[in-house]
Symmetry: C2
Subunit: 219 residues, 2 copies
């Protein structure tokens, strides 16, 4: 029975890695659709989200059945519950990528972000994708250095998020209300995406090391 | 053992009702702080959120220990898992009330929403609070009419959310970029709050009736 349990945990980790990869691809493509105002790519991001939802549901069901059949002890149970929350956070990250793609689609053929902010959103896209790569690596290698890198990536996203607010609200803003609203919401989507990544990182460490969230590292 | 299980479920339902009540109070007070630009009330909403976080954590722990000790069968387990997600959604609803209060505080002594939108945000506040009252009632009386009412309240919130977008983006908007950004984010907080309420309603029905999410009622 216990061997089966361990086998299931390996399968679950594979699922998490796969989800992280899909989420990374989603935010990469969503950012591309935003920066190049590419409607076709935006549509593909929106359509592909069903894959992530299905994976999250399957992972959830796998965890539920594992719990029901194997009657895990409390520490094992906490790991399984943490895994279900990881699946749910990553599904939400996929939704946020979809929100970015929908913003791109809404303004097509125009671009939702003004020229002067293209580089900032490109960087946000890179950081968001990097976070998913770091999450994938964390699953196979749950070390603290990597956890700290994830925190640093999130800090960079937060700094850009604040910077965008400053720009939009400065007296020099010349792009009008619609662009201000778009930039505000888009910036928030990336910021929430990164927040979820940090929360996933905490839980991965919890699942793989049995340690609680290590709030000293991931504050 | 099974009696203990049933007793625990009753205690869990009480916790859910209590959380719904606290969340309702939080969004009511947050809206008040927004409409009257009342910094003191805003501070209290922000400080009180720790109560909700503690309740959510306690409910989570109660569910985890119930699962570990009682080794529930699959249907019972699904109910417990749904309850943990209810706790997590309601904690998030509390966070959204805090976001509203923080917007109010940020613009104090000015008001974050222009005069002409005060009534709309008052209605959003009423609807959000009504949703939490409906959730409380749903815990003791999981019937479909009530579930439909919750869906209707959410539909009204969505309609106001779209209406606010239309107003902010219309050529007649005369309140500048900062107010547009504030209104956009505030409107999104209420919309997300209502979305979470619908998701909680689905799960309450699932927990209390054993039925899946009844997507025909709560679409």
């Amino acid at each position: 029975m216990r061997d089966l349990f361990q086998e299931e945990l390996v399968a679950i980790n594979n699922d998490i890695s796969q989800m992280a990869e899909l989420v990374g691809k989603a935010i990469n493509k969503a950012t591309e659709s935003l920066l190049f105002s590419d409607r076709e790519i935006a549509e593909r991001v929106i359509e592909s989200d069903v894959l992530l939802n299905d994976l999250a549901a399957a992972l959830d069901e796998r965890c539920t059945m594992l719990t029901a059949k194997q009657q895990p002890v409390a520490t094992e149970l906490r790991s399984i519950l943490a895994t279900m929350r990881i699946a749910s956070s990553m599904e939400r990250m996929g939704d946020l990528a979809v929100h970015v793609a929908k913003s791109a689609r809404l303004r097509y053929p125009a671009r939702a972000v003004p020229d002067e902010l293209v580089e900032t959103f490109r960087t946000l896209g890179h950081l968001a994708e990097e976070l998913t790569t770091q999450l994938s690596r964390l699953v196979t290698n749950p070390d603290l250095t990597l956890a700290q890198e994830i925190q640093k990536s999130d800090d960079k996203v937060d700094a850009l998020h604040r910077e965008l607010f400053r720009i939009v609200l400065s007296p020099d803003w010349s792009h009008g209300v619609e662009a201000a609203v778009d930039v505000t919401l888009l910036s928030r989507y990336y910021e929430r995406f990164a927040d979820h990544a940090v929360s996933v990182a905490r839980r991965i460490i919890h699942v793989l090391t049995g340690e609680p969230y290590i709030d000293t590292v991931l504050h």
